[in-house]
């Protein structure tokens, strides 16, 4: 089929692909045709879910019909390996180093593999971006790999086609472009840091000099990039050294919670906040809009609307003597909060920053406009921080670009009919493009469009060819970390669905279209061998690609794969100078200066801003820009601060909610631990509108509403489709992060939000203890005031004896940033099921480890604390006494063991657990049938069935594995041999596990610290998970 034919909808006939498109358009003629042709199948065909249900029912009835006459289990034969693979011992996992790139920035990983199946992801301790920890997204990647909704077959207009058919069509199109030098060829990628991929694209561009490479990646720091260019006149890589910073000012930046390097930053930041070394404690000031992890950890947080940040940042800059930052226009930015208090705040911050020249740090947030980044750079320069706490390098990304302009140019070209062949490598631009950039509409003017993607998503629906992309755990590649360190991405498993990697797709543009990803990556690095000083003495010129590999390269290659990074590839520091005054991008100029939305028609004039609110767009903390929308672990992950799952919401401050008369109330079903029935509001913004449920967030600045992107997807898959609302529909290219003129109107409708914690007040129950640093130094025992720990003898039962080990855990509330990595890590390690929104609404989510969030202080700017709560493994466990069948028993190492196959499910233990950490399988939550999900489970942990109680086990499987290993090697267990899953992934090193019988172990030392306290100690449960109190490094000038 020629591309010309295939792009004509009218001739397309009853193809699935066109049917979907027509339905999007709601074409009545087509509907009629469908009804006439297949009247009985209309609903089933139109609704993929119903069709699936139909198939399921058919399958189930067949299976049931078949089972009626049979009682014997079918016999299954186990076939042993004919040839045993090297190092593979059945039952023993192997670990392989690889890396996961997000927004073009990689984090190094170690992946646990059981008999060739990756099951659990850990951070790579050698990797500078990880140091052994990861974020929640990396933890959830295993589920992403085994997602049954992934694009599984190469399709052309919905028909399954072989790779060769695609190659034929592509090469014909390329041949047609050859005389035009590729003038009609466009490649659209996400941010690329892979050196190999960049080299391949350059190679393609050299073959087709008139072809263009566009980039669009909503997850990469667009504004940070622009800010660096604004400040320095060129794209510059920025990385921070929080380990050297004494005073930090965050300008609406969530450097702990998201963005490149955040995992490393969280570690460095936490290391400087150990109250044991009170003199080294850093101090964090945060101008914060939507309450973030960073704002929660700040010693002084000032809630401001995003538009106010620039004005305040300029004032602070001026106060510390930075020139050329005065507000260019007399706009109101910053004006609203200019009270005495704000002035005092600014002065104190400026003074503190100046007092720590060279060891202070100003960080601007990704959602802030370029000017704020530039001001931050100027401040860092003026404070002498450049080269000390902030390091400038070449950009990590290969050939950074103004992505918004890049996308706009592409749309213009497409609209002009100049694009004959568009290859979209990764990403979902049809969904993620701003509302005023009609990417989807323009796309249909391209004659041949190819989408390489993990999912058959919104973009695939408008493309001729959908090529299933390999997951990063399935393919060879490479990527750079936040500091430029390159890693080889090595696959853990053969592609599940014959997918192709970006490298393999780009190889199709060359003379050798069938080259494997492995060869491409290896050839690239072999060619770079000389730069990396491999092969040392022989001094030979760089080997030609494909020309055999030297022994030195082979050995280096093995080392790279083993270590998970290529040494010497970190980008070196360079000096750059801030250029001239920084032009203002205040909202006023943004609106006034905007000559209509960039790149496309259809923009409307903004409404007058009087009485209106400000809208704030943020990437979702769980599903990001929507790329993780079909990942159940992430969808069900309670978002930091709001604790919402499965939905985004219109987040407003309590005062704004009161003004708008919107909000939510706990339902009688589920209540505060499940279901919040909220007012649905209509957001009207620049002539566009969407509806979403309102949700009140204490500490949110007044006068603005935050909406998270990544929801309202229509083709995400069974899990992600139809969750939340699409905030992209409001987002315009001139106000990507925030903008004025939002109107919020009540609709009178109600919507149930699944929220796992709605009550955030401690009610004087002492869950979190906090003290200021000065008081901690003066009188640390103030933390123990009001302690009511009963005497140990206050129990009827004899004390447990621990002759061997006695496990314990401490969790440093002072370090926790609430990033949720531990929650997903626990879910992945322990085969914890996803229950779905309806069950979360009913108060039945299954997480063994939850992060409680508590507020203290005024509702418009409270102190926020994160408290991870796993099982406390009580010494006098209330659960053990009440179980009628002895299904939860005390082990001789102090664990409250849960015996799943003995549990009859009375739930008495959960009722009697004061910490409510027990989770019950009210229904059959585990998916027993989907084959791909079976591969991803941890074989060391029982998969629980319906009617059984479960809870945190301190990762008893890891304890036993380490004990067996130690016994085999005839050595005692060392402190640190065992790491629980939550401990291992924690970026802030907040969780420490170990043997309390060993007085030298870290956990035993921490439990002797004065900050150590037990949750609800007055109940005499004597929990062995204890907490370390918060010490806040308050500036005495500002006070608490």
């Amino acid at each position: 089929m020629s591309p010309l034919n295939s792009s004509k909808p009218d001739n397309a006939g009853p193809r699935t692909w066109w049917r979907a498109l027509e339905e999007r358009a709601g074409d009545p003629a087509f509907q009629e045709l469908l009804h006439n042709e297949f009247p009985s199948q209309v609903e089933a065909i139109a609704d993929p879910v119903a069709r699936r249900t139909f198939l399921k029912l058919m399958g189930a009835s067949l299976a049931l019909g078949g089972f009626t006459g049979c009682t014997l289990q079918p016999s299954e034969k186990i076939v042993p390996y004919v040839r045993q693979p090297e190092e593979l011992i059945p039952g023993r996992p192997l670990f392989f180093a690889t890396a996961m790139a997000l927004g073009g920035v990689a984090i190094g990983l170690l992946v646990e593999s059981h008999e060739g199946r990756p099951t659990k992801i850990e951070g790579n301790p050698l990797h500078p971006g990880s140091l052994g920890a990861t974020d929640a997204f990396a933890q959830a990647a295993v589920l992403g790999l085994y997602d049954p909704d992934r694009s599984q077959t190469l399709t052309n207009l919905g028909d399954i086609r072989p790779w060769s058919a695609f190659l034929g069509e592509l090469r014909a199109a390329l041949a047609a472009q050859q005389p035009l030098k590729g003038a009609g060829v466009r490649i659209l990628t996400e941010s690329v840091s892979s050196p190999t991929l960049a080299a391949q694209i350059r190679d393609v561009l050299s073959r087709f000099p008139s072809a263009k490479w566009h980039r669009w990646d909503p997850a990469s720091g667009e504004q940070a990039r622009a800010g660096a260019r604004l400040a320095f006149g060129e794209y510059v890589g920025v990385r921070y050294r929080f380990d050297r910073a004494d005073v930090i000012l965050a300008l609406d930046s969530d450097f702990l919670g998201c963005g490149p390097g955040s995992v490393r930053y969280a570690r460095d930041f936490a290391e400087r906040r150990r109250p044991g070394q009170a003199g080294r404690m850093n101090r964090l000031y945060a101008l914060d809009s939507m309450p973030s992890s960073t704002g929660a950890r700040a010693d002084h947080r000032l809630p401001v609307r995003p538009s106010e940040v620039e004005g305040l940042a300029r004032r602070i800059a001026a106060a510390i003597g930075v020139g050329g930052v005065e507000q260019a226009t007399g706009s109101s930015a910053g004006g609203q909060t200019t009270s005495d208090q704000t002035a005092r705040w600014i002065n104190a911050v400026a003074k503190d920053l100046q007092a720590h020249r060279g060891s202070s740090l100003v960080v601007a947030g990704d959602e802030q406009p370029a000017a704020v980044h530039a001001v931050a750079h100027a401040m860092n320069a003026a404070l002498g921080n450049a080269g000390s706490t902030v390091i400038y390098t070449d950009p990590v990304e290969a050939e950074p670009a103004d992505q918004l302009a890049s996308l706009g140019d592409l749309v213009n070209d497409m609209n002009a009919g100049a694009v004959d062949l568009l290859v979209i490598i990764g990403g979902n631009p049809v969904y993620t493009a701003p509302a005023d950039v009609p990417f989807g509409a323009a796309l249909s003017k391209v004659r041949l469009r190819v989408h390489l993607g993990l999912y058959d998503d919104e973009t695939s629906a408008l493309c001729h060819w959908q090529i299933p992309e390999t997951h990063f755990l399935e393919a060879w590649s490479d990527a750079r970390a936040y500091d430029g360190t390159a890693s080889i991405v090595q696959p853990l498993i053969a592609p599940l669905y014959n997918g192709k990697s970006a490298h393999e797709l780009l190889a199709a543009f060359t003379d050798r279209p069938e080259r494997s990803g492995y060869d491409i990556v290896r050839d690239y690095w072999n060619a770079r061998a000389a730069d990396l000083k491999i092969g040392g003495g022989d001094g030979a010129a760089a080997p030609k690609p494909g020309a055999g590999f030297s022994a030195a390269f082979e050995s280096a290659w093995r080392r790279w794969l083993h270590d998970g990074l290529i040494p010497g590839t970190a980008l070196s520091a360079r000096t750059v100078a801030v250029r001239g005054p920084i032009p203002s991008t205040s909202i006023a100029t943004m609106i006034a200066g905007a000559a209509g939305p960039r790149g496309a028609a259809g923009g409307t004039a903004p409404p007058p801003a009087d009485g209106a609110l400000e809208i704030v767009f943020r990437s979702d903390p769980s599903v990001l820009d929507g790329r993780f929308a079909n990942n159940g672990w992430l969808q069900e992950l309670p978002k930091p601060i709001t604790k919402l799952t499965w939905d985004n919401a219109v987040l407003v401050s309590p005062k704004t909610a009161e003004m708008l008369k919107v909000g939510g109330v706990p339902s009688m079903q589920g209540g505060e631990h499940g279901q919040i029935v909220s007012d649905v509001v209509e957001l009207r913004y620049r002539g566009r509108s969407v509806k979403g449920a309102a949700f009140v967030v204490p500490g949110h600045p007044d006068g603005c509403a935050t909406v998270h992107l990544g929801y309202g997807r229509t083709r995400a898959g069974q899990v992600g489709s139809g969750t939340g609302f699409n905030a992209n529909a409001l987002r315009t290219s001139d106000a990507m992060s925030f903008g004025p003129g939002l109107q919020i109107a009540r609709t009178g409708e109600r919507y149930s939000l699944a929220c796992t914690q709605y009550h955030h007040l401690m009610e004087g129950r002492g869950q979190v203890r906090a003290i200021t640093r000065d008081e901690f130094v003066r009188n640390p025992s103030a933390l123990k005031e009001g302690d009511q720990t009963p005497p140990k003898t206050l129990t009827l039962y004899p004390e447990h004896k621990y002759e061997g080990h006695k496990w314990g855990m401490t969790i440093d509330v002072n370090a926790c940033i609430g990033c949720n990595a531990c929650v997903v890590g626990c879910q992945s390690e322990n085969n914890i099921p996803v229950v779905g929104k309806a069950q979360v609404l009913a108060g039945r989510e299954m997480h063994w480890l939850r992060i409680d969030t508590y507020y203290r202080g005024p509702v418009d700017n409270p102190e926020t604390y994160f408290q991870p709560v796993p099982c406390m493994q009580c010494e006098n466990a209330p659960c053990e006494v009440v179980c009628p069948v002895g299904a939860t028993v005390h082990s001789d190492e102090g664990l409250n063991d849960m015996v799943y196959n003995r549990c009859v499910g009375t739930r008495y233990c959960s009722n009697n657990c004061p910490y409510k950490v027990r989770r019950f399988n009210f229904l059959l939550y585990q998916d027993w049938t989907t084959p791909s999900l079976k591969l991803g489970r941890n074989p060391d942990v029982t998969v629980r069935s319906r009617g059984v109680m479960e809870k945190c086990t301190y990762c008893v499987q890891r304890i036993n594995e380490a004990k067996i290993d130690a016994e085999k090697e005839e050595r005692p267990l060392k402190d640190g041999d065992i790491k629980t899953a939550c401990q291992q992934v924690c970026p802030a090193d907040a969780i420490v596990f170990g043997d309390l019988n060993d007085p030298g172990s870290r956990v035993a030392q921490l439990q002797r610290e004065v900050r150590n306290y037990a949750l609800l100690a007055e109940l005499n449960t004597r929990p062995r998970t204890t907490y370390l109190a918060v010490v806040r490094n308050v500036n005495p000038e500002l006070g608490e």
């Binding site: 589920g670 209540g671 631990h673 869950q767 709560v869 009440v882 009375t906 008495y908 409510k916 319906r946």
Partner: protein
């Protein structure tokens, strides 16, 4: 016959002494009493009302069967329970039904030992009510389990695994308490039935009746030796049943009192639960007795004297329950414990405040009307109050189970509970089961003890030294 269960006091004197209505209307003889009671079973035929009532109850039994089937297929998640409220309607209903059963045992055993002759005409169906209520109650702990097919693990039985129940758990004590109670109640009821079964055997017009009643009568011939042994056995069983009246609900209250949940962890629970059980039990006996005596024309046997006495028992036990509420709140405040103090506060002002207000209204305020003789003499008013007390006692169990759990220690885990359709269906289904069993009992067995009624007739009085 004259030796049968002779009360030591003269029934006529008893009537005179209390000054109220008699326990049996005058003018009856041995023969007429026997005729009147046995006729209901043997000769009067099945009234249309019985059929309507039974079919309605049977329909509800089917609702129960459907509910349980669906429950077994899907799991307890079809109910509204969640974390933190792990127990919901199932346990509320369990405690409620067990409580209702108590009146039967109290009437038959304790009042027998206390020689309260007025118990005679209500003890048979009160005992039957006990059995049926315990059947309904016993269902709930079974089906509320996550894996009910493993319920036998709660029973200590020797097994190759060497695993025993965990004897520190009150749920295991429950197994013993409830099963003992059910067994003794059944024995007591059946032994009491034997002379009457023999009467039915002798009078049954049909061969099937003679065979079935004959087998059940176990060869009773009414000889003096039979009567002698029968009376000893009956008294012994009464003695056995007496401590059970106290122990069963005490053990049931331990399910809560042993736990550390604020609102459950209370030493007052055992006496307060027992009083509540008797309270609700008598309310249920009244609820049943009033329509039955009207429909079957038994006003002569179940007289105003019975109704008044039961009203008085309700008044007393109701006051004990009210005292329980008061002391519970006082001790919560007096303890100084912030979690305990929060419980009464939350009950009064929290999301379940309406339920708590309704509970106080039903259990404490309205029953105070029973102080008035006029109210105790009015059958319709008694009936309404009895039903209100039944509702109130159900609400009490709901308040105890749900409001204690839904907001316990950590504020982060506070939640709510509300019943689903299946919660209600199961509950209504057990009411259906209870009524269906009761209808069968009324139709096929003498609802009033013929032998004992005969014994309280003046005719039965034996003149000393005659």
């Amino acid at each position: 016959m004259a030796e049968g269960l002779v009360p030591n006091e003269d029934p006529g004197q008893a009537v005179a002494a209390s000054g109220g209505p008699p326990v049996i209307a005058p003018g009856y003889t041995f023969g007429s009493v026997t005729d009147k009671i046995s006729a209901i079973v043997l000769t009067r035929g099945t009234p249309l009302g019985w059929w309507l009532g039974f079919l309605l109850a049977f329909a509800l039994v089917n609702v129960l069967l459907v509910s349980i089937t669906y429950l077994l297929v899907k799991g307890v998640g079809i109910w509204g329970i969640d974390i933190p409220v792990g127990w919901g309607f199932a346990i509320v209903n369990f405690v409620w039904w067990i409580g209702i059963g108590h009146a039967g045992t109290l009437i038959s055993a304790i009042l027998l030992l206390l020689k309260q002759t007025w118990r005679t005409s209500i003890n048979r169906f009160a005992e039957a009510m006990t059995l049926f209520a315990v059947s309904c109650a016993g269902l709930f702990p079974l089906i509320h389990m996550g894996r009910p097919w493993l319920a036998y693990w709660m029973v200590p039985y020797p097994n190759t695994m060497g695993v025993w129940p965990q004897f520190r758990s009150p749920l295991v004590w429950d197994v013993f308490a409830v099963s003992t109670y059910a067994t003794v109640s059944l024995m007591f009821w059946f032994v009491g039935l034997i002379p009457d079964l023999a009467t039915l055997r002798d009078r049954s017009p049909s061969r099937a009746g003679r065979v079935i009643y004959g087998m059940l009568a176990m060869g009773w011939r009414g000889s003096a030796r039979h009567w002698h042994r029968y009376e000893i056995a009956y008294l012994l069983l009464a003695g056995l049943a007496t401590p059970l009246v106290v122990s069963v609900h005490t053990v049931v209250s331990f399910d809560f009192a042993i736990a550390i949940v604020p609102g459950w962890h209370t030493t007052i629970f055992p006496p307060y639960f027992v009083a509540g059980a008797i309270y609700s039990g008598f309310a249920m006996v009244l609820t049943l007795a009033i329509p039955i005596r009207a429909i079957y024309g038994l006003e002569d046997f179940i007289t105003m004297r019975h109704l008044q006495n039961m009203a008085k028992v309700m008044l007393v036990t109701g006051l004990i329950v009210a005292y329980g509420y008061l002391v519970e709140a006082f001790i919560a405040w007096y303890s100084g414990d912030r979690f305990e103090r929060f419980v009464p506060f939350n009950r009064v002002t929290g999301p379940y405040a309406l339920f708590y207000a309704a509970l106080i209204l039903c259990n404490v305020v309205i029953p105070q009307a029973l102080w008035l003789k006029r109210v105790r003499n009015s059958v319709p008013v008694l009936f309404v109050i009895a039903i209100i007390v039944n509702v109130g006692m159900w609400l009490e169990r709901f308040i105890i189970v749900v409001t204690s759990l839904h907001r316990d220690f950590l504020t982060s885990s506070w939640g709510m509970y509300s019943p689903t359709f299946w919660d209600w269906a199961t509950f209504v289904g057990t009411i259906g089961l209870f009524l269906a069993l009761l209808f069968l009992f009324l139709r096929f067995l003498p609802m009033i003890s013929i032998a004992e009624m005969r014994a309280i007739l003046p005719e039965a009085k034996v003149e000393e030294g005659r």
